[in-house]
């Protein structure tokens, strides 16, 4: 089960970030979050500093997961695109590869069509990167060091005191 740990290297993130930045510029969207289906935030681009991206990632993944279940009930395997429309800000979510979600937050300065177009292009580009990442992860080295777990243990004792 742990064979598919999500491991992201710096160079991939750089590539992903530049792809996302380009998409934001093209689609004139506010920000983009790349989220793992488990709710982990992979990376973010754009105007995100006022957002609680950790919570947002968990909730977006949750919302996507529940939609998947809805899809299953109506006889679909998965909905690949999800759109939340607000009064001013909207969120467009699309599936990237088989385990990540690209969420683009945008407002009325652009249109859903533009965002959808660019998100689709971006998703296919990102899927390629993830495919290469996956093959790379399987050639990984040894696990976290003993030191890491030991010092984590000490830290836990410091933090979690009644």
């Amino acid at each position: 089960m742990n064979d598919d740990n999500l491991i992201i290297y710096e160079e991939e993130i750089e590539k992903i970030d530049s792809i996302l930045a380009r998409m934001l510029k093209g689609a004139e969207a506010k920000c983009a979050l790349l989220v793992d289906k488990d709710g982990h935030l992979i990376t973010r681009q754009g105007f995100t500093h006022s957002l609680d991206t950790t919570a947002l990632a968990a909730l977006l993944a949750g919302s996507f997961a529940s939609t998947k279940e809805i899809a299953r009930l109506v006889g679909e395997s998965e909905f690949s695109v999800l759109f939340h429309q607000g009064k001013k800000d909207h969120i467009h979510m699309s599936l990237v590869g088989d385990r990540s979600i690209l969420a683009v937050i945008f407002d009325d300065r652009t249109t859903i069509g533009m965002v959808r177009l660019y998100a689709k292009e971006t998703a296919s580009e990102l899927a390629k990167i993830f495919a290469s990442l996956k093959s790379r992860a399987h050639s990984g080295g040894p696990g976290l060091t003993d030191e890491f777990t030991a010092s984590a243990g000490h830290k836990l004792d410091d933090i979690f005191q009644d």
Partner: protein
């Protein structure tokens, strides 16, 4: 599965509190939220019904700080305990790294405990997990109540595999941290032994990077929001909203070719934001250079004016800020912002940067010719 991000230098694990309804899963999280210093935890999010029963999940991110240069983060989730919510309960288990089974010690709840444990095994099996492969800790909760079963009885019925267990009173907090510490240790232990996890290197990391990773840490309140309402934090959103309102309004009016300020005064919109207080703003068209500063560049400080906003244009006009103020704080080997593409232009499939031609140097032949001319001139005495 454990997520290791080498770019953000963080290790993230997902821990799920499972158990029958009203066994105290959310109470566990609330206690952790209450007792842990705000620098360590993020904001707790509870997707609950009007009656405070968990509908989808509770979520509490914890960041125990940098270890060997990597921020160790744990995301604590609870599931809805009621039998009725199995569809959503199952979804929370996706990608779980460690489980805490919160059992109700009361004698009459024993059947529910067993049912929930069976349900857990079924749900894990649907994801292809085996409960024996996962780190799991049992918490016998509500030890302070009367009419509870003794520890050997509980152990015999719920823990044939001999998992680690703790007695707890989640309301008072007894045993809550012990359980959490144990599951975190087990999860890290498991991640260590997983063969696909690469070595966490010990390169030093700038201190501010680890600090910056707890953005929500300063927020104290627990948001208990019914599902009918949005789940976003209200304060930050309100501020952001106000700034955006101002910006979008002023820019859309400028596009119409109307003097923005006059219109704003007319509609009494000036009070909403300082960004449009200054009448100077109308002198700059929406597509001026200031507007072209990329939004992706501003990430980092909340103090900076929004690029392209009237405020930023005014400040730039007065030379109080420069374009370089919009540059993000350096993150080491960060890729330079993409500048080769503008709105309206189609995305180029091959995004390779344009090859810079080598700078032409003065051709040596010319110099030789000059010298030669000089030579012949000197030879024949020509001036």
């Amino acid at each position: 599965m454990v997520s290791i991000n080498y770019a953000a230098r963080e290790v993230t694990c997902k821990i799920v509190y499972y158990g029958p309804g009203l066994s105290g899963k959310t109470t566990n999280l609330l206690y952790v939220h209450k007792k842990v210093p705000p620098t360590t935890r993020g904001k707790m999010i509870s997707l609950a019904t009007e009656a405070d029963r968990t509908l989808y999940f509770d979520f509490l991110p914890i960041n125990i700080g940098a270890i060997n240069g990597f921020a160790a983060k744990f995301q604590l989730y609870t599931v809805p305990g009621q039998v009725y919510y199995n569809a959503t309960r199952k979804l929370v288990l996706r990608g779980v790294d460690g489980l805490v089974f919160v059992a109700d010690s009361q004698a009459e709840k024993m059947d529910e405990n067993i049912e929930s444990l069976t349900n857990l095994k079924e749900n894990l099996a649907e994801y292809g997990y085996n409960i024996d492969d996962l780190p799991i800790v049992i918490q016998y909760n509500k030890r302070d109540l009367t009419g509870i079963l003794s520890l050997p009885e509980l152990e015999a019925k719920l823990n044939p595999s001999g998992w680690k267990y703790f007695e707890a009173e989640a309301v008072t907090g007894k045993g809550v941290f012990d359980t959490l510490k144990m599951i975190i240790k087990l999860v890290l232990e498991k991640a260590k032994n997983s063969r696909n996890t690469p070595q966490v290197s010990r390169e030093p990391v700038p201190a501010n990077q680890a600090q910056a990773e707890t953005p929500a840490a300063a927020q104290d309140s627990v948001t208990q929001q019914p599902v009918t309402a949005g789940v976003m934090a209200t304060d930050a959103m309100a501020v952001r909203q106000a700034v955006y309102n101002a910006n979008t309004r002023s820019s859309s009016q400028e596009e119409e070719g109307e003097p923005a300020v006059e219109k704003e005064v007319e509609y009494g919109m000036l009070k909403e934001s300082k960004a449009i207080d200054e009448p100077l703003g109308s002198q700059f068209p929406a597509n001026s250079d200031a507007g072209a500063v990329s939004e992706s560049e501003i990430e980092g400080e909340s103090q900076r004016p929004f690029p392209g906003s009237t405020t930023s244009r005014i400040l730039r006009r007065e030379r109080r800020i420069t374009v370089s103020d919009f540059q993000p704080a350096s993150r080491g080997n960060e890729t330079p912002p993409y500048r080769g593409h503008f709105a309206g232009e189609a995305i180029r499939k091959d995004s390779a940067p344009v090859q810079q031609l080598p700078t032409p140097i003065m051709a040596p032949a010319q110099r030789i010719i000059k010298k030669k001319q000089g030579f012949f001139k000197r030879l024949f005495g020509i001036k």
